[in-house]
Amino acid sequence: MSRRIEGAETSMSLPTLRPEPLDDLPAGPAHFPLDLAEIRERLRTRQGPAFWRGIEELADDARFREFLATEYPRHASDWDESLDRGFSRRRFLELGMASMALAGMTACTRQPVEKIVPYVKQPEEILPGVPLFFATAMTVGGFAQPLLAESHEGRPTKVEGNPEHPASLGGATAVAQASVLGLYDPDRLKVPTKLGILDTWPHLVTELQAAAKAQKQIEGAGLRILTETVTSPTLGAQMKAVLTAFPKAKWHQWESAGRDAVRAGARIAFGQPAETRYELGAADVVVALDSDFLALGPDSVRNAKAFSARRRLVGGSKEMSRFFAVEVSPTPTGTLADHRLPLRASAFPAFAEALAAELGLAGFARPSGLDEKALKFAGTAARDLKAAAGRSVVVAGDFAPAEVHAAAHAMNEALGNVGKTVFVTDPAEAAPVDQLASLADLVADVKKGEVQVLLVVGGNPVYDAPSDLAFGETLLKAGLRVHLTAYPDETSRYCQWVVPMAHFLEAWSDVRSLDGTAAIVQPLVEPLYDGKSAHELLSVLLDETPRKGYDVVKEHWKSARPGEADFEAFWRKSLHDGVVPGTASAAKVLPVRTAEVAQALAAAATAAAARPSDLEGVFRPDPSLLDGRFANNGWLQELPKPLSKLTWDNAAIVSPNTAQKLGLQNEDVVKVTSNGKSVELPVLIQPGQAADVVTLHLGFGRVHAGRVGNGVGGDVGPLRTTGAPWVAAVTLAKTGARSPLAHTQQHFRMEGREIVRVMSLPEYVKDPAKAKGHGLPPKDVSLFQPGWEYKENAWGLSVDLGSCFGCNACVVACQSENNIPIVGKEQVGRNREMHWIRVDQYYEGTDLENPEVHHQPLMCQHCEMAPCEVVCPVAATVHGAEGLNEMAYNRCVGTRYCSNNCPYHVRRFNFFEYNGEREKEPVLKMLANPDVTVRSRGVMEKCTFCIQRINRARIVAEREGRAIRDGEIRTACQQTCPADAIVFGNINDPAAKVTKLRDEPRTYWLLEELNTRPRTTYMAKVTNPNPDVEAG
């Protein structure tokens, strides 16, 4: 566990508050993970026949059995059981015994003696109780999410965005925040298996190398390698090496929620592969064609930072960009739109044509079969685009048709945006290919029986390949099949060899972001289990004696950077910053072949019009689980989806009028059928959804995801085909059954209350303080005179409702920082979710089919006159000297009076021992943030403004005899927020950012008339619709 990672470079190290850093893992370094190491060792040293006897011995090792067959009962339905306890006979007897025990209260027991387990040789950079931060990066969909990972005595507990890296700038997404849970997931594949039987890595190496030798003879004609999207320079180089060593071998790539359309679009527009990135900070007008560019995709964080900055009205600025969104299904990004148009997926080519025509691009004709509303919308958008030529941008979404992408290129060029708001570069991918074709090609070869050796490096094609390829069955025709995977998943079942893939916090690698900037993936721990990286697997083919990941990566860069005078210095700097200098891809100017584009677009439009369907099924990656790779991550399963606030499920999402037309109600189970295949899903009626469209989220209905993900939701994969990977004609049929959906919010109307305050730009210009309302009541009306005076620090938080688009990153960040448990579907259904910060969401406006959507992150408001404090009978929640509303968990007896009396209802109650899993699963104990108490049953909890971070900073400041600097303390939600919507600080310090924001005229207090005097303030949302047209 705590062994030093070879060559690891710390980025920075902050002191921390930690009572006894060593007692937090009961048996410290000599605990669970080390057992694994030792068992791994034993496994490794055993070879051939001796090994089978070995199994017997190992099977007798209790700890080994424990980690082979661990329990992880975090499944939705499990709480039912917990509710109905007392009925099973066993439980009944238990209760009987217990009721006797209750008689004799066992009050005065003595504390058990705990252990202290110090290091044997203490690594010099480790100071027990002081966390270290390492720069690294997570790979999602092939692209980098640059991170800083926090390590406590060598155990990663939290990740943050890496401010040094252009793709993060300090922000991080929800999935990145949840990645730590993935590291400790007890369901991960722990040892290599052959035909389902425990086996060893060395054994695999011998077998694979034997096969490779055979392939060498035939120049690798029978060798195929299937990877996900690859941007890793090292992996790319390795693949090249493989292809030179085995000239007839083939490399295939497949990503089920991939960006084929983007690549194809670029090919149509430029005749060559190219990548596009946007400078939304410089854009006055943004038109998004079915694009969720703020929340989804490789560049989302950077987009969010720039976009929100451009629209933030502070310091007297009265300028913000205008945003037009055309979408099939409402996305977080779309909720910020000043003008929004719901449009059927099949109509997008036509709409792009209309827009281009309005812009006056040569060769683009006004299409037929586009309704008035859409045409009018296109007109308005075009006018604004033209007015802002060179300062505007047309963004096409990853899942929009290729022709639409091409059209976007054409329009951006015509508007002169290229080089200003739009930058075209070489792709960051090692080999940009049409992945759908690539996969089909592989399947064809397998069918022909040409494939003797197949390496599936990551990914889960059996689950997510288009159904008409029948990937699973075909796979069996291939010879030796090796699957490198984190979990024993659907694909693993079809491969003889299944090799555990190391988590990115366990293994060396590298990865590039959309703009090409590379980051070294730096591990924080030795692999908990027998995990290997893709580099190590490929090295088996390439090298006589397989090399370690560290050597592969480092040597690649050595050879890639012959110019470096002092390579070691360069290497250390790259590790330290998490950025490899000089890797960003340069912007190019590629002429758009407008004629071809126009042709292709027209063709697409007519083709779409040619095959009309009364109901379109639209496939999208799930906002939290993406293509299903995070299905076993409880944090993401319980993360309420933007807008619907749905947890632990996917649904057939339809618009209100469509539901009416088909006579559907929420939670009605319907049979969704397309090309002969069908799936049953509950209905979810979604305002803002385009008419006659059913949105179906990928990533659910997994059967071999793990104990959390198995059987959650329904798998819509079967409906997808190579012909129609994103849109398909579907039919809905009511089954008559109903299936309850667990939402974290039931009521989406504001009831005319001033909860989220919104105004248009003109209104704002006229009266910036319009949203302020009455403001706070005067202080002197309080009965308690004189009130406490906050002399030095007074903590406050400001939330900009104009920036928040509900991406949920803050929710997971908080969950990770504050040891917040998940409760499962049934408990969420009972309104018992535990999230300390939640993103409330309200619909506004008269048009049910296209309402305005507002988000409001709500956490403890830390009222100066807190209603909760007065009523607590045991003074478990009281006011701190710096204005925090403090919660002493261990004083709480659980009357729940405080929660009742909190007008914001931000308090959360442990109705059960929600943290029980930590006890059942030793490995999960390593996940806990040691600076935050793990709450037990019957205790109230809530947002603390990350008091552990405040205390940490205060102690450092006190030791150095100075005041706490502004920005020195950042709450978990603030630090991760991609839109910089949350700012924390000392409101007594006039220079502090938070103070400035509180003084903004947009600032208001939630429910100020109650005189709770919250320390959390909100900044009213401002929209910027085109004054010439009524919103719509």
């Binding site: 917990s82 509710l83 306890r85 007392g86 009944f92 238990e94 209760l95 009987g96 217990a98 009721s99 209750l102 209260m105 919010q745 039931q746 009521h747 989406f748 504001m750 009831e751 209350r753 909860i755 009972r830 309104n831 018992r832 939640r838 409330d840 969401q841 309200y842 409001q856 709500l858 209603p867 007065v870 009523v871 607590c872 009978p873 045991v874 003074a875 004083r891 709480c892 007896v893 659980g894 009357t895 729940r896 009076y897 929660s899 009742n900 009396n901 007008p903 914001y904 209802h905 959360r908 109650f909 442990n910 109705f911 059960f912 021992e913 049953r937 019957g938 205790v939 429910l1007 109650l1010």
Partner: protein, 466 residues
């Protein structure tokens, strides 16, 4: 002054039914009442055994439910966020309310020298004690960590922490515990002379010994009687304010809160009225069946029923006034949240409960205006049942409905009790039933010596003294 002390026993200027059926001598009174207690165990009536079986069964269900509660957590109940209090506190307030009739009858009516109370006061006091016992458990059961209730008491400890005296829950602790203590003492002291009587009338040696112990050596000496009179007057004086204070303080749990539907000044008076209302309803619910079963018609006469009905009618009207005032105050305040709260009660998802409550507590009791209804045993009992239900619904509407939809709409959520909520409530009823049956079987359920006072001889003698 009251009619009993001069003129014919129970005779009444406005010709009401007497409080004691004619033709009774002190001896006969004692005989009749103590026979209930003195019947051999083997001769115990079947209905009693049946009742006890039911009560005891429910009591065991209670034990199971509570054990599961303690081992598993509050989660087995329906409580959630925002509705942090559900059946637990509803039932707590309901039981506390029921207790009130006892104190009112024994304390206030004693001070007012209302002779008609004599026959029912003992019974009502017992009911009070048992109801408070049931209520008293809920504050502990509803804790998330029920093993720490002593943290609510201002006792020294190594934490150096006092409870938060600003919290109404702390006031509750004092109010309820005081109430329980006084009620028990009052009840027991009141029984002393009768326990002595039983001691002297008991046939079995064991019984004589037991009652003898309990009687604390009461010998009917005039000194005893003198002390007794003072004691009971003092206790009455002590507990009179309690009648008002206890339920006022319970109502503070809500009126101190900020929740629309809680935060109102009308609560204390109308909670007290409601309590007496509920209390009398419960007395009737229990007395009416017992009258025939124990052949006590002579002692609990129509006069009693009439009076109790009148009390219910009056307090019922006060409660009704409280409801009206709540609505009026909401609109008068012009506070959007208060107004919404009222409209939500009328038409919201819990409208059914609200209108049922109006039916049970306001409409049905109006029948009591009619003498025929008041004197019809069956009608009275049905009405009393309505009121018992209505008062439970009142607390449900106040607590759950208010919480389920308050300030921030994103919080709004429904609340549904679970089978375990029901089990615990049924369990407390079981406890109540068990205690009550044991009481009427083994203790003087009616006040013998005060009844004796109502017999002709007694009153004559009294008159001569004067």
């Amino acid at each position: 002054m009251s009619t009993t002390y001069d003129g014919a026993p129970g005779a009444d200027p406005i010709g009401q039914a007497p409080v004691l059926a004619p033709g009774h001598t002190p001896a006969s009174v004692t005989e009749r009442i103590s026979e209930v207690v003195n019947t051999k165990l083997t001769k115990t009536p079947r209905w009693w055994l049946l009742g006890l079986a039911v009560g005891f069964g429910l009591l065991n269900l209670f034990l199971l439910a509570v054990t599961n509660l303690f081992m598993t957590g509050i989660g087995i109940w329906g409580n959630n966020v925002p509705v942090g209090w559900g059946w637990d506190i509803v039932c707590f307030v309901w039981w506390i309310g029921i207790g009130h009739a006892g104190t009112l009858i024994s304390a206030i009516l004693l001070l007012l020298r209302q002779s008609w109370r004599n026959s029912i006061n003992r019974f009502a006091e017992a009911m009070t004690v048992f109801a408070v016992a049931c209520a008293g458990m809920y504050p502990i059961l509803h804790l998330g960590r029920p093993w720490l209730p002593y943290w609510l008491l201002p006792v020294p400890g190594t934490l150096n922490m006092w409870p938060n005296f600003r919290s109404p829950l702390i006031w509750d602790v004092f109010a309820v515990s005081t109430y329980a203590t006084i009620s028990i003492v009052f009840w027991y002291v009141g029984m002393l002379p009768d326990l002595a009587t039983l001691r002297d009338h008991a046939k079995a040696k064991v019984a004589r010994f037991a009652y003898g112990m309990a009687a604390l050596g009461w010998r009917n000496s005039s000194r005893h009687w003198a002390n007794y009179e003072t004691a009971s007057l003092l206790l009455a004086g002590l507990s009179t304010p309690l009648v008002l204070s206890v339920h006022s303080i319970v109502s503070f749990d809500f009126s101190v809160g900020i929740v629309p539907g809680w935060h109102t000044t009308v609560f204390p008076p109308y909670f007290v009225a409601g309590a007496v209302f509920a209390g009398f309803a419960m007395v009737l619910t229990l007395v009416l069946p017992l009258r025939p079963l124990f052949k006590l018609k002579d002692f609990i006469t129509d006069r009693h029923l009439q009076n109790m009905a009148k009390v219910m009618l009056t307090t019922g009207l006060i409660v009704a006034y409280g409801y009206v005032l709540e609505i009026w105050a909401a609109f008068y305040s012009a506070n959007e949240f208060e107004i919404f709260m009222v409209l939500n009660r009328f038409t919201g998802p819990y409208a059914v409960q609200y209108w049922l409550l109006i039916l049970c507590n306001i409409l049905v009791p109006q029948l009591l205006w009619f003498r025929q209804v008041r004197s019809n045993v069956w009608a009275l009992w049905v009405i009393a049942m309505f009121i018992n239900v209505g008062m439970w619904l009142e607390r449900f509407v106040i607590i759950v409905v208010s919480l389920s939809r308050d300030y921030v709409p994103s919080n709004w959520a429904m609340y549904h009790g679970t089978k375990w909520d029901i089990a615990v409530f049924a369990g407390t009823i079981g406890l109540f039933l068990t205690l009550l049956l044991l009481f009427i079987r083994f203790l003087p359920a009616l006040n013998m010596f005060e009844m004796r006072v109502l017999t002709p001889e007694a009153t004559k003698a009294h008159g001569e003294e004067k």
